[in-house]
Structures are given as C-alpha cells and as structure tokens.
C-alpha cells in the first residue's frame, strides 16, 4: 500500500499596505474607488480582509519563472479594455517536461501536489470594527491583538493612452469644443483642453497574516520544495498587489514552522514536527542541507 504524508509549511506573513481587491459597488456614503479583498469568516462578525492564495501564489510563480529564466511559451489570453490581450506565460505541456521543470513540477501538475491557503489575519476568531473614516476597519483577534488594519489612501490616475481615448461630441461640447463627430483625447488636447490626473481613494491593508502551504511528500522530494522557499524570498524583495514600485504591497515571512501530517494525523493522531531553528525563508535556504536531512529522517518513518 502506498503511504501518505503532507508537509505543512506555516508561519506569519507581515504585510504592509497591500491592495489586492477590485472596484465594487460603492457603499452609500463612502467614496472608496477600490476596495481591498474581504471575505466572511465563521468566527468573525462582519467580513475580514485577506490576501487570496491566487494573488500571492500568482506573484510567486511569476517571480520563479523569471528567476529560473523559463520561456513564456504558452499564450495566456485575458480580457482587456479593448478586446483581448495575449500575455504569454511559462507552462510546460508534456508530463516529462513538467516533471523536470522546477516550477511546473510544483505548480502545474494534473495530479495536484501543492495546496496554498489564503492569507487570513493571524488568530482564529476576529472582531471587525469600522474605523472613523469611510472604508476604514480594524481587525482584532481572540487575544485582542490588532492583527489587521484597512485604511484609505489617496492616489491619482494619470491620463494614459490619450490617442485611444474617445471623446464624444456631447462631452466635447460641454468643454466648449464644437465638433460634429467623436474625437480622440489627443485631438482634444490639440484643441487646448488639458487632461488632469484623476484622484481616487483606495483601501490598503496591513497586518500579521497566516501563511499556509501543503505539499504531497508521497510524490515530491524535499528538494522539489526549494523553489517555494526561493519564491518566498523573492516575494520579500518585491510586492503583492498594486503600486509596488512606489513602496506598497511589501511582505515579510517569519516564524516558519514545518510539520508532517500522516494518515495517523487524519485518524486523530498528532502532527510530526520538524525540529529546525530557521524561521525565515532565506535562513531555511541557508541551512537547506540540514533541514532536508531532518525532513527526510521523519519522512522515512512515515513512508518507509
């Protein structure tokens, strides 16, 4: 009989001013243009802010593709404002390619071998309080610690692609420009009208969030997980969400703990801890050989 073991990597993700969200229906009385992502929680009154796994793993994957210099050979079609955009990504096609690619082996297998959790605020039970300003929230956990804070930031949207912006004759007339057909933004500028930056309000979230990832060790070796820790290190130097080049969306990982869950765990037993002192992704990578040995020894007990 095949044996089973999941390696669980958990820890803290300290995030600073991240906006992972979208434009939603604006609540009455607020002026927020882009909301951070919220979700209900069984042990919270109100919704809690979170960072969806699709967001942080998507960035992690993109950084790894660059790190390993993998070719973007698969066309990815996504919806753009003016039709569809072709944005190629790296994706190995054949099973043999997948099993030799450091990224696809972990993230693109038909038989899924890695599962990533949403980053929820640290704790198990939350109270969500509205702040004094519109769109502002404070999230406390069961120990009354403030674990997340959502605040509003002002930003401006610069007018881009003025050649592609179409101004209707009616709008132009309101601006004092008499025309009988629609014109482009560039033509409007030539007629002496200036395009101004548009101010908007965006929610950003900061706080201590829970990192969670699980790996099927019946199908992976510990060395296959190295790209994941490299990805976490890369994420610390980059950002999640919007406006990263302006200092937003920073994330740091700490208090990393690794445990193994075997069949016995799911039948009511305990997790098997991997006893290592390294708590940050870069420290894990520095002591990779030592940690691999510790994991392999425990895995041997489970998988034989």
């Amino acid at each position: 009989m095949k044996s089973f073991a999941l390696l669980v990597v958990s820890g803290d993700a300290y995030v600073e001013e991240i906006t992972v969200g979208s434009k939603r229906e604006i609540e009455t009385g607020t002026r927020v243009d882009i909301f951070t992502a919220f979700k209900p929680h069984p042990k919270a009154r109100g919704e809690i802010p979170y960072i969806p796994a699709s967001s942080w793993v998507g960035v992690l994957r993109h950084l790894l593709e660059n790190y390993y210099d993998l070719p973007a050979q698969t066309p990815r079609i996504r919806r753009g404002k003016e039709g569809t955009l072709v944005a190629p990504i790296h994706e190995c096609q054949s099973p043999s390619e997948i099993l030799t690619c450091p990224v696809c082996k972990l993230l693109s297998r038909r038989d899924v071998v890695a599962w990533f959790d949403d980053l929820d605020p640290r704790g198990e039970k939350y109270s969500v309080q509205r702040g004094r300003r519109a769109g502002e929230y404070i999230i406390k956990n069961e120990r009354n610690e403030i674990v997340a804070q959502v605040v509003l930031k002002d930003e401006v949207v610069l007018p881009r692609d003025v050649e592609k912006t179409i101004i209707s004759a009616d709008i132009a007339k309101k601006l004092g420009v008499e025309i009988d057909k629609d014109i482009t933004g560039k033509e409007l500028i030539e007629k002496g009208i200036r395009f101004e930056p548009i101010p908007r309000e965006v929610q950003v979230v900061s706080g201590a969030f829970k990192l969670g990832a699980k790996f099927d060790m019946a199908k992976l070796s510990f060395n296959d997980l190295k790209p994941f820790f490299i990805g976490l290190s890369l994420l610390e130097d980059r950002y999640i969400g919007r406006r990263g080049s302006r200092g937003y969306g920073r994330v740091k990982f700490d208090n990393i703990v690794m445990t193994l869950r075997s069949k016995e765990y799911y039948e009511g037993g305990d997790e098997i801890p991997i006893e290592v002192d390294e708590r940050k992704p870069r420290d894990v990578l520095k002591q990779w050989g030592k940690i691999r040995q510790a994991v392999d020894e425990k895995l041997k007990q489970i998988l034989g």
């Binding site: 089973f4 699709s54 079609i77 996504r78 994706e91 069949k263 009511g268």
Partner: protein, 260 residues
Amino acid sequence: MQTKLIRLEFKSKIIFQRTWHERPWRMPSDYLVRSLVYAWSKLYGDPNELVQALIDDHFRISSLLIVRRGKLFLPDYGTHIYVTLEGDEIIDPAELVTELSRIRVARDMDEPTPFEEYLINALKYEWAVIVSFSESFDLNKLIASFRLLGDLGIGGRKSKGSGRFRLTSVDSIDRYNLEVKCKGFGKLISRYLPTCKEVEGKIYQESVTIWYGSGKSYSYVVIPEGSEVNVMDDGQVIFVENDLNHRVPIFFRPLIAVVD
C-alpha cells in the same frame, strides 16, 4: 444502518465551473462521494474499500446541508432553495452564489473560450452531511478522509485556497427532529437514479452531466433532492472511466428524511 451528522465549517469559498445545466447552488451527494474517493485513495493508497462499501450498499451520504440556529436546511431542487423539513424556514441560495466571468486559456492557439465560474460563499453558514452506514463500514476512515478533504479543499481551484473546511463534529441526528431512511416515503436528501421505471411521489427531474475531460461527458436524468418519493429500490452506483483511466463511482443511491 446507523446515521450520523458530520458538521463542517468552511474557511474559504467553493468554486464550481460550468459543468452543470444550471447555476450551481448546492453540492450534491454524488459530487461529495467522488471527492471522498479521491481523499480516501490518497490516505489509504487506493479507494477499493470505500468503493466496495458503495457497491455493497454499506454506506450512503446526503448532499451538503446548511445548519442554522440548530436547524437543518435541506436543498430543494424544485424551488432552488434550502428549506427545513417542516417547510417553515428557508434560505435563498441566491445570497450565497456569485458569478465570475473568465476566459479559458487557448493553449493550442484556438480562440479563447469565455466561461463562468460560480463562487459559493460557504463561509456564511455552517454545513453538514448526513451519513448512513452499516456496522461493517469503517466510519473512522471516512472521517479521516473528510479531514484530509478539508485540508486540500473541495470544488475548483483547490490548489489556490478554495473549498477549505474543518470537520467540527460528528453528531447524532436525534436532536434535529428528523429520521433518515433508505426506503419508504420521504423527502430525498441525495440524488437518486432508480432502477425501476416508475417511482411514486412528487418528483422533480434533473439532467446531470459528469465531465471527464475536454468535451467528454456522461449524462443522466436523476431524481434530485427535495423530491417527495416512495423509494422502493436501492438506486444505482454507476462506474465511468475518466481520462486518467480511473474508474470513478457515480453515486445515485437514495437517502430520505422524514419528520421524526
């Protein structure tokens, strides 16, 4: 047969893709069985013991139910709502389901295909399933499989955090004022494909399509949850082969609830 209620607390939303004839708003019994077979085979190497229990009729399971304020809300296909067995309270699933428009990647340079994903906001309520099993069935293995399934997720986009849940308790159904049976007259709480041609009662019909690869599917017309039927047989478990050459059981055995 013994009966238990397994309570679940979701930690993230459940995602369904359009493999249905309608906007998905529930998780039917046959879908749960396929997920459990996956989890069981991961834990125990193969699903044979569970599959044999399905064939020998040692185990039946309901669709996913909602628990609110100590009451069970059962899916009713005819009205597309969750309703108590007495019919005195309802939950409209419209408050749980959001539609997401997406475009499928054109890997072989074909045109991109728009499709919809449906997001069930399962965090809003507590959920449960009713299981009925014989003495020879190993309930502990089923509970272990539920725990693993909760860790890995159910529905679509599991690797990116969707469909996570926690098994909170395994209870007796005594305090829910209902009795669960395999035969006789009652309200269906699982999807049922009878072996006989005629079934008595107030019957809904649902066309079910099981996809097993791009453009490949099996279709059945079943009696869905909420139908009030006089069940005389044991329904069916059908096996289909998916594109990974796995024999997948499609569980269409009836489980009915009556007021206790």
